[in-house]
């Protein structure tokens, strides 16, 4: 389609002709209203939207969790029916994993990758917008199930044959299938985009081994996504065909093997858990050096262990199937491979400690979260190792001991780390700090809350409490710890509220406080050399990178005794964001239009086919108009300058084609159409 785009794009030299290709939507102009947000292709705005949406779904998933906890507070809980409970824990898992923590990581990836590698935007800005809109339409789609007959009730891993029509006749599972397919397309597009960005858009001198560890971890994450998503896509398609078109993939009576689903799901699912944790590892690796006043210890080991984790993550999936009846040899092999994943992970933990060793630790909120995350992750990590022993896992699997494990790694390792990231980059993103006192209260309440909630689950699990049970009988010794866990979950909720209050208060207080400046933490990577909040064009001038921790080295040097001395103040070294005439990619409505069609297609397949036609038409129309829309928009007023930046292409799954060379690095005023 871009083939058609290209010549038209050439014609745009004559203004007005193709500006409104089909006369339907006016080409969006730069501005600050809602139009600007829905049509933006700016990686920073997209990042912020990911973040906000993710936090919204955190509350949704959290409320689901609270309902679960309320039901389980006492034996024979009567708050929820079994059916509703099953929907709640399924939707809790799905929401938290696919609609909260992955997009929150995507928020950081979108916002920070271009900044950390010294680029103006991602490789394909419009595709980036497309990813976001597809993801959000998938997210809304999944949650619309609550109003259309109930959510999926098959658990987040939705094992067949329970997920088939015979056993799950409602539409819940269809929502799961289509929702994950849609969200999967989004992640797929975005991960390809980010991989290309990292590989191709780095500032001069930004060798791969000078990239910040965060960028590295995000890169590994994107590779995991790009290779793992097709696998669950296959699984979801097979399930969809079974449910909608009576195929026989998961029908045991026809000789199908339910373990096929399990294999496909976990081949995706295990890399998925590293997709969850690696961004957080990256964030921690940025925060700890900054607040230790030391470079990260063993940079190359950090990078390679991240790669190793990503790589080994592909060879362990069947540890989720130790009791499923795969043969003893398979179990033994996977048991061993799982154990050794502790090695690269341990390297990371120990390197963080070594970074702190001899450092000057300043416990800002971000640092507290980072350090807390290390400790909590380790708890989850070592309980993970105890599951890796297949015989021991036959006792542990599907009990609350597992629930404890994964909430410690996900909440303790993942969420705490991401929260730390929020405190750390908040000034960069919004131009004001979050209040530190409130932040610290937030941290401690959250830490206590999570230990109260998930700590007891270890005990419950070992005492034999099964997962995914909507009630339990009195007399097994489960009562006390369940009550504690429930109380703990409300403590977490309280902590989350503190965070929101902090966000609000800090926003209100910001005007009366001194501006944080480009680099409030005396940090190390490139994003801190641009003003806060980041100007639309990121860098006035693309920096030429000479070392790892480039920004820090622009501030500090060594004297003859090899002691660190300041060579420039932040103000001297930083850019002031005053560049004009920088070409930025032009905004577009079409990604949104394309995305909106997708859930309609799915609704149609579930309810009435004509909706599919409408959705398909809308998506096709969006794609077509997208192709016709010139990449560049010579007329638009782009504030700082006008956009000129090859957008990649339009169509995610035919692999697309464009001929636009990407010119993200085009610096101020080197092309026509500027101000």
């Amino acid at each position: 389609m871009a083939i058609i785009e290209e010549p038209l794009a050439l014609e745009t030299g004559s203004p007005g002709t193709v500006d409104q290709p089909l006369g339907m939507l006016t080409r969006p102009k730069g501005g600050n209203g809602w139009r600007d947000w829905v049509s933006t292709v700016d990686h920073k705005k997209i990042g912020i939207m990911y973040g906000v949406a993710a936090m919204f779904f955190f509350v949704v998933g959290g409320i689901e969790a609270l309902l679960i906890r309320v039901q389980l507070a006492v034996p024979d809980g009567q708050v929820l029916s079994a059916g509703l409970y099953n929907q709640l824990f399924t939707m809790h898992g799905v929401t938290m994993v696919f609609l909260f923590i992955m997009p929150l990581a995507a928020a950081f990836a979108n916002y920070l990758i271009p900044l950390q590698i010294g680029a103006r935007d991602v490789a394909f800005p419009r595709l980036n917008a497309l990813s976001f809109w597809i993801w959000i339409s998938g997210a809304v789609f999944v949650n619309s199930s609550w109003f259309l007959g109930g959510g999926a009730d098959c658990g987040w891993f939705c094992y067949s044959p329970n997920s088939g029509v015979t056993f799950s006749p409602g539409n819940g599972v269809d929502f799961y299938v289509f929702g994950l397919l849609i969200a999967g397309i989004a992640s797929m597009v975005s991960s390809i985009n980010l991989i290309v960005t990292v590989l191709n858009m780095r500032a001069p001198g930004m060798h791969l081994f000078r990239m910040p560890v965060l960028t590295w971890m995000l890169l590994v994450t994107q590779f995991l996504l790009v290779f793992a998503l097709p696998v669950i896509t296959v699984a979801l398609f097979l399930l969809m065909f079974d449910r909608l078109f009576d195929s026989q993939f998961f029908n045991p009576e026809a000789g199908a093997d339910p373990l096929l689903w399990q294999n496909l799901f976990w081949i995706f699912g295990h890399p998925e858990v590293y997709i969850i944790i690696l961004p957080s590892f990256g964030i921690i690796s940025e925060i700890i050096p900054t607040f230790s006043r030391k470079p990260i210890f063993g940079y190359s080991f950090m990078v390679f262990s991240g790669i190793a984790i990503g790589f080994m993550g592909w060879g362990v999936w069947a540890h989720h199937m130790f009791v499923s009846g795969i043969g003893p040899m398979s179990v033994a092999a996977f048991s061993l491979s799982t154990m050794f994943i502790a090695v690269p992970t341990g390297v990371k933990i120990l390197n963080w400690l070594a970074t702190m060793w001899g450092g000057k630790l300043r416990f800002s909120t971000a640092m507290l979260f980072a350090v807390g995350s290390i400790a909590m992750f380790t708890i989850g990590g070592v309980s993970g190792v105890t599951h890796a022993l297949a015989p021991a896992d036959t006792q542990q699997t599907d009990t609350y001991y597992i629930v404890a494990h994964f909430h410690y790694v996900i909440f303790g390792g993942g969420v705490l780390g991401l929260m730390g990231g929020a405190y750390f980059w908040w000034p960069k993103i919004f131009g004001h700090m979050l209040d530190e006192t409130w932040g610290k209260v937030h941290f401690w309440v959250m830490l206590i809350g999570m230990n109260l909630t998930f700590g007891p689950m270890h005990v419950l699990g070992l005492q034999g409490m099964s997962r995914r049970i909507d009630t339990y009988a009195a007399g097994f010794g489960f009562e006390a710890w369940n009550m504690v866990a429930t109380i703990g979950s409300f403590v977490i909720a309280f902590a989350v509220l503190i965070f929101f209050v902090n966000v609000y208060r800090s926003y209100k207080a910001a005007p009366s406080l001194p501006a944080p400046g480009p680099d409030p933490w005396d940090a190390r990577s490139l994003e801190w050399m641009v003003p806060s909040p980041t100007p639309e064009h990121n860098f006035d001038e693309i920096p030429v990178v000479e070392s790892e921790d480039e920004w820090w080295h622009r501030k500090y040097g060594y004297d003859e005794d090899n002691r660190v001395v300041r060579i420039a103040t932040i103000e001297e070294a930083a850019q002031d964001g005053s560049a004009v005439g920088v070409h930025l990619p032009a905004p577009s409505f079409w990604p949104l239009v394309v995305a909106v069609g997708m859930p309609l297609i799915a609704y149609g397949l579930m309810f009435t086919l004509w909706l599919t036609v409408v959705g398909g038409a809308l998506t096709a129309f969006g794609l077509y108009s997208w192709a016709l829309e010139p990449v560049d928009d010579p007329d638009a007023d782009h504030g700082h300058g006008d956009g000129h930046h090859g957008d990649g292409d339009d169509d995610h799954d035919d692999g697309g084609d464009t001929d636009e060379p990407t010119m993200a690095g085009v610096t101020a005023g080197d092309d026509a159409g500027g101000e």
């Binding site: 871009a2 083939i3 058609i4 290209e6 010549p7 794009a9 050439l10 030299g13 490789a123 394909f124 390809i192 985009n193 991989i195 290309v196 590989l199 191709n200 858009m201 780095r202 500032a203 001069p204 790009v226 290779f227 696998v231 896509t233 296959v234 097979l238 065909f241 078109f245 009576d246 195929s247 026989q248 993939f249 009576e253 026809a254 000789g255 199908a256 093997d257 096929l260 496909l264 693309i542 560049d632 010579p634 090859g646 990649g648 035919d654 692999g655 697309g656 084609d657 464009t658 001929d659 636009e660 060379p661 990407t662 010119m663 993200a664 690095g665 085009v666 080197d670 092309d671 026509a672």
Partner: protein, 208 residues
Amino acid sequence: MATATVDTALDTAHEDHGSSTGISNTKLAMWVFLGSECLLFGGLISTYLLYKTRRGPGPTNLAIPTDVFDIPFTSVSSFVLLMSSLTMVLALSALTRGDNAATRTWLLATATLGGVFIGGQVYEFTTFLREGVGFTSNPASSAFFTLTGFHGVHVSMGILMLMSLYVASVQGNLTPKNTETVEIVGLYWHFVDVVWIFIFTVIYLIPA
């Protein structure tokens, strides 16, 4: 508005830092995408391999795809698809030379060969259906139709892309500057072909 050919993009790459590796974003994206497609087709192929002899419930012995394979026929369509890869590279090569007429011919030839392949597949499917191997018959047949169907959809999308190229060429919009576009469509096309090379051997030729 700089719309450069591959070559100029490469030449300018380091001057304007457009790309740190000196390679095109889109092409890189395409290759990453193809890498991930390996896992997609791998999943479908493994599913089929796992199920290829599962005939369904009871002693009824429903027919499975391997019972009704027509190897000579499929060989011919495999050959057709394989040759479409040749015409595809010839199209690209013609475009690089600036030979528009030849480009068009080869593009059309590629799309036509692709079309013949799809036609063959439709024929194969209908024969199978007639012989009692339907999508819903048993795990083996479900897996077979899904795998080859996915492949067929890929081929069809390739044909769409080729036809768009052809139309662009007819309109005079396909010039040597666009070699990269054609190259990328070509990559996709060849990928679909190598997948079929795999399928032909592993699914059709290796006996059950």
